[in-house]
Each structure stands twice: as structure tokens, then as C-alpha cells.
């Protein structure tokens, strides 16, 4: 399956956080690597979208949008640090 990046889920994340999140730095709770949300490895063809760490491949966020409701699980980030 083809991997995209965090730009592909920027609209739904903006919806959840009320601001653009692509320039926010996230720290992976699995390996400690820090990357911008735009740089996540994102698979959009799962039931929902899955964002993985570009360094270790660990799952960092899962996002599901149904009609006007977006559910987001991002607990595998140790830290989210806006620009």
C-alpha cells in the first residue's frame, strides 16, 4: 500500500485542533524521534487514516472521519510542540 505523509490528513487535523498542525513537531513515544506532523508516514486506505513514525514505524495516530465527526487517537505522541 502506498504511503503518503501528514499533509494528506492536514484538513481533518485542522478540524480537530482548530488550527494547522502540519508545522507542529511531535515526539514519538516509541523511539523518541521528533518530526513534523507533515512528515509522518500516513496510510489513508485503512479504515481511517494511520500516521506512523518516520523513524521507527510505530503507530502515532489513528484518525477516523464519519460525516462531520472526526475521532482522533494520538496518545502515542510523547509531546506535541506547535511552532
Amino acid at each position: 500500500m502506498q504511503a503518503l505523509d501528514g499533509n494528506a490528513i492536514a484538513g481533518d487535523l485542522h478540524e480537530v485542533f482548530g488550527t494547522d498542525m502540519t508545522m507542529t513537531a511531535g515526539t514519538c513515544a516509541h523511539c523518541g524521534a521528533t518530526m513534523l506532523i507533515a512528515e509522518l508516514v500516513v496510510y489513508t486506505r485503512a479504515p481511517g487514516a494511520v500516521g506512523r513514525c518516520r523513524s521507527c514505524g510505530g503507530v502515532l495516530m489513528v484518525l477516523v472521519a464519519i460525516h462531520d465527526t472526526v475521532r482522533l487517537d494520538h496518545q502515542s505522541f510523547r509531546l506535541l510542540d506547535p511552532p
Binding site: Q2, A3, L4, D5, G6, N7, A8, A10, G11, H14, E15, G18, T19, D20, T22, M23, L36, I37, A38, E39, A65, H67
Partner: protein
Amino acid sequence: MARAALPGRLKWLQGSVVEVIDETQRTKSIVLELPGWPGHRAGQHVDVRLTAEDGYQAQRSYSIASAPEDGYLVLTVEELDDGEVSPYLAGELRAGDELELRGPIGGYFVWEQSLGGPLLLIAGGSGIVPLRAILRHRAATDGTVPVRLLYSSRSLDEVIYHAELTRLGTDDGVDISFTLTRDWPQDWQGHRGRIDRRLLEEIAWPPDQQPLVYVCGPSGLVEATANTLVQIGHPPGRVKTERFGPTGT
């Protein structure tokens, strides 16, 4: 009960199609009039939402092809064989039709004059779309930042904006290079073959000039190009990437 609007929340807007322009056999530009559009920065995208009669909705992201200074918002859409949204946008949509979208989205894959340069833009297939917005923005604001574009397509008839890019390439400080990977005319003067280290070393600004790099296209091309640029010595933080779904390069 009405839901309170969150600060900065994106609104779904209703646009109307002013014109549909054939760019290539599989690619169309959709020119939109969009009341309430807050304006955008070059490189940003929108989410387009289609709603079927039974309420089923499909949503996709498309890069904005127009500069912030252009009068209309333009999306350039490539029709994908197994696409759910693009066949409608590139095949069915006509002037006068309505289209629902939200944006502008993204702040990472964005360029404006204050970010400086020199600029190195690298595109595969329809990955040219946000880079065209950047080039148009640079031209519209009388920019003097030197820019080099390397654009990979399968064949000459799949090159999007060929005439416009060729014309922009005559501007001061703008250097446009095409590479064709599958077919080329006998008298083709451009490059042949996929973007590789040799081609990047020939065209890219050397790392000591600290170019700001934007790479956009299908995942394979973006991955390979970004990795090669880092191997050549460009700092990863100066190489911005945006990956598309399937498209021809």
C-alpha cells in the same frame, strides 16, 4: 442546536465552476468562484467533498494551482483510473456546476517571498500543481529569488502547463528543466529518464548555496529524490516533501 464555531475552524464553502480547462488528456484545471474564500498561501491545498443523493460522501485533497494574487481559485485534477472523486472532477464537472470545498489547508509545504531561496522545485506528474502556484506567486510579486524547477513526466503530452512553464523559464532567475521517462520526441532537447543522483547533481543548487527544496509527486519519486538530496549533502530540514497518491511520472 448550533455548534459553536471553534477559532480557526475550516468552513465548507460552496464554489461555482467558472471554467474547466483541458491541460492534458487526463488532467483538467477547474476555475472556481468562491464567495467567502479567505485567501491562501502558495503551496496550500483544499479538501473537496462530493455528496451522493443518498448522503454518501467522499472527500479528497487537491493542491491549489493558482497564486494568491490570481483572480480565481484554480484546482488542477488528474483523473485516476480507480478514483472515486477525480473521474467526476476531471470528467463530469462543467461550468456553472457547484463544488463543495474547505481550505486553505497546510502550512508546511508553503512558500512565500519572506522564506527566501534559492529555490529548488522538483515535481513528478501532477505534483507540479503546488509548485506552479509557487512559481506564479513569485512572478506576481516580482520576486527575484533564483529558482530552478525539475519536472518529471512520462511523455511530452503528459506535461501539465507545458507552455506556461516554458514561458516562465524565460524570466530572469527562472530555470525550468523537463525530464521524460517513457517516451520522447526524436528531437527532444530536454532530459530523458527518471530523476536520479546524476540529474540532481547537474540541476540542483549545490548544498553550500543552501537552497530551499520542495519535492512533490508520487511517494516513490518523492522518497527517492529526498533521500538522494540528503545523501548529496542537503540538510533534511531544507527539503520539504508532499506525497500524492498514484500518478504518472
